[in-house]
């Protein structure tokens, strides 16, 4: 009876914290709740104490099990401080004291199977809560929780530049997966793959064994030409551009990655370096590094970052450049670091009619990869 009550309350806390964390974007599933409940009911520390009875132990359990970065641990801290004042006072501080039946208040009637109805204040946040002023006053100073980022924490993390990598709307891992999908398999490697089925078939057909049949090894022949807008309104996205380039070159298993830079419009002159100091003629680039099987990705905000009005000259120059690239390859897409809601009324809106243009987020990036791998193959004449 006593432990049942404790467990039930611990269940409520676990579920309330889970609901809050899910709302805040921490990736957790049902399996994680079940594991937490299982551990909360058992003596997971092996210390002889009932972990469900001690709030600190319960919190530690949830932190270990549910938080996968220091940032998420801080988020759980906050959620805990919201949930615990409403639910945890029911929990006694030490489970060992409960062995004496006299001290135990009468058990609450409770049916574990019924759907849990949480006290609304725990879910709706601090504004509806009453009482506890000290907690309320402490709330507004917290930093927003951003699960997509892997923010650096503490002096140790700040000195480690690798922790700053997964930043921005698309993580490097996601970029790597995307490049991985960009493949064009060509069987032109050494013929050293034994084709058992074909060997058997040939032997059966000829009635005599003529030796094994080998197939050629396939390799990824997909090539990529990245054209990145630099400087001006693109300055905030330089980091993202570097991530794109690095992930394509190192994680992508592509046959060739060529990167050129431009400012505003990929016009006659492209540049081989991000500081736009080593010019390369666009004609030469397209002739040398671009054939019909090369995928071309252009990364530019097309004037959407400043929200500037449509500039006829810019639209005309962009259209000309796109037309020229289309003569070399139809595998062409435009990635815009700004979300599509910001394109309206700028050159980007026109660009999106000339070429498949996608916002540079996870969804947009995958769709752009689909386009530049030719699925479906876009019509040569544009759209």
């Amino acid at each position: 009876m006593t432990p049942d009550r404790n467990d039930a309350t611990a269940d409520e806390v676990v579920r309330a914290v889970f609901a809050r964390l899910r709302q805040n974007g921490v990736a957790l599933g049902v399996g994680e709740v079940l594991a937490a409940l299982q551990a909360a009911r058992g003596d997971w520390r092996g210390a002889g104490a009932d972990s469900a009875a001690d709030p600190a132990t319960l919190k530690q359990l949830l932190t270990l099990l549910w938080c996968h970065s220091p940032a998420e641990a801080r988020e759980l801290d906050l959620v805990w401080s919201l949930v615990s004042p409403t639910l945890l006072p029911v929990l006694p501080n030490r489970g060992t004291e409960l062995t004496d039946e006299d001290q135990v208040p009468p058990p609450l009637p409770r049916d574990l199977d019924r759907p849990l109805t949480l006290p609304p204040p725990t879910i709706t946040g601090p504004s509806t809560r009453t009482g506890d002023d000290a907690l309320l006053s402490a709330l507004p100073v917290r930093a927003p929780f951003l699960p997509a980022r892997d923010e650096a924490t503490g002096p140790a993390a700040a000195s480690d530049p690798t922790r700053l990598r997964a930043y921005g709307p698309v993580s490097r891992r996601f970029l790597a997966y995307g490049w991985r999908r960009l493949r064009r398999l060509v069987a032109d490697g050494p013929a050293d793959l034994l084709d058992v089925n074909e060997t058997v078939r040939q032997t059966a057909r000829l009635g005599v064994y003529r030796g094994p049949v080998f197939r050629r090894r396939a390799r990824n022949a997909a090539r990529l030409l990245l054209l990145l807008d630099q400087n001006g309104s693109m300055t905030p996205f330089h980091r993202l551009g570097r991530d794109l380039i690095e992930s394509a070159q190192t994680d992508g298993a592509l046959a060739g990655v060529n990167v050129f830079f431009f400012h505003d419009v990929p016009s006659q002159m492209l540049y081989a370096d991000p500081h736009l100091t080593r010019p390369a003629e666009r004609e030469a680039v397209l002739a040398g590094d671009c054939d019909a099987d090369t995928s071309v990705l252009i990364v530019s905000d097309a004037g959407a970052a400043r929200g500037e009005t449509v500039q006829r000259e810019r639209v005309r120059a962009t259209a000309g450049a796109l037309q020229r690239i289309r003569r070399s390859t139809v595998l062409l897409a435009w990635l815009n670091p700004l979300p599509d809601a910001r394109w309206t009324g700028t050159t980007a809106e026109y660009v999106s009619r000339l070429v498949p243009q996608f916002a540079l987020n996870e969804d947009g990036f995958s769709r752009a990869i689909d386009v530049v791998r030719g699925q479906p193959l876009p019509a040569a004449g544009g759209r």
């Binding site: 432990p3 994680e32 003596d43 099990l65 140790a156 922790r163 997964a166 490097r172």
Partner: protein, 347 residues
């Protein structure tokens, strides 16, 4: 009584087998360790939250993902756990070319073909250890994960070291195996290697986030613990004591004098917390440094010299007359190296 009722409430079979509990005091439990358990005494000072994390992983049999600075003892923890509990330890050092299957099994088809050719006719050999090409199981060797899954008497500790070094798809390939039903199939032999429900391995995974975060579905299943560096001279002294106690057992190395340990620990923590370094040295570097201070070329460095160097460096303007001894052990980037003392010709 609260406790029996509470355990009865948990109906999962996981609670019914004898509980393993990690204490983290470095003493080996149990009289008969597994033959594959590490035999070397492991000097490991585990903070209480880390001990709890290990115990939670033992309780739930979920993988424990360890992150933290280089040299803070992520890998050593697996040895310490296996040593203390007397469990077999299987380590899988992940490399950039590792595939998930490498950890499951290897299959030597060439050897089998060779045996099939040579054991026919007059070449036939006999003997108890003769391989028989008719039995494919003789040509497969289980990898660390496979061996951990085969334990039937006690669970194994499986260390997957530096999982982030491998290809981005690597953790996803492990996902299905490190979860129910804890099994994989070997197509070459038709075997199903399945871990016994009573002896599910304790999986410890270390990562440095070299290629960014691990995939979210993988993270979701792991217990996560970030090993903090012990930025506290007392903890460092504790680690030194444990380290030399272990070495005393095996190699008979005397511990450095307490005054030197104290001076070195304080200096080291001051260096780390000073925030001036681009790459902070870890515990292993500290132990190496201390060892060098203790008796490099039979010329021990006194604690006062370590202290002096500490004091001098605060006055940046001066050329440091007594530079920190053995800076090459602590500073691994050129920018971190203390400025060389100006000597005669150079100005």
């Amino acid at each position: 009584m609260s406790k029996p009722a509470a355990t009865a409430a948990a109906s999962a079979p996981i609670d019914e087998r004898p509980r393993l509990r990690f204490v983290g005091d470095g003493r080996a439990l149990g009289a008969a360790p597994h033959p594959d358990a590490p035999t070397r005494h492991e000097a490991y000072v585990a903070p209480a939250p880390l001990v709890d994390a290990v115990n939670l992983a033992l309780f739930l049999r979920r993988p424990l993902l360890l992150e933290g600075e280089a040299g803070c003892g992520k890998t050593r923890l697996a040895y310490a756990v296996a040593r203390e509990l007397g469990l077999p330890l299987y380590t899988w050092h992940v490399r950039s070319t590792s595939r998930a299957q490498d950890g499951f099994y290897e299959y030597d088809a060439l050897l089998r073909l060779h045996d099939a050719q040579t054991t026919t006719g007059s070449h036939r050999r006999s003997g108890p250890d003769t391989r028989d090409p008719g039995r494919p199981t003789q040509y497969r060797r289980l990898g660390p994960l496979g061996r951990a899954f085969q334990q039937r008497e006690r669970p194994a500790v499986l260390l997957i070291d530096e999982i982030d070094k491998a290809d981005v798809d690597f953790p996803n390939d492990l996902l299905t195996v490190l979860d129910r039903p804890w099994a994989f199939r070997i197509p070459e032999t038709g075997e199903l290697i399945q871990a016994s429900e009573d002896c599910l391995p304790l999986v410890l995974i270390t990562s440095n986030k070299e290629k960014g975060n691990l995939p979210a579905p993988f993270l979701r299943r792991c217990i996560y613990y970030f090993i903090e560096f012990p930025d506290d001279p007392e903890r460092l002294k504790e680690i030194v004591a444990a380290h030399y106690a272990a070495r005393d057992e095996s190699e008979n190395v005397p511990a450095p004098p307490a005054a030197l340990v104290e001076a070195a620990a304080e200096r080291f923590v001051a260096l780390r917390t000073g925030g001036r370094l681009h790459k902070n040295p870890g515990t292993s570097e500290f132990l190496d440094w201390l060892e060098a201070l203790r008796g490099f070329e039979n010329a021990p460095v006194g604690p006062e010299r370590v202290r002096e160097a500490a004091d001098e460096e605060d006055e940046d303007a001066d050329a440091d007359p007594t530079p920190l001894p053995f800076p090459n052990l602590l500073f691994k980037m050129r920018a971190d190296l203390p400025r060389q003392p100006r000597e005669g010709g150079r100005a």
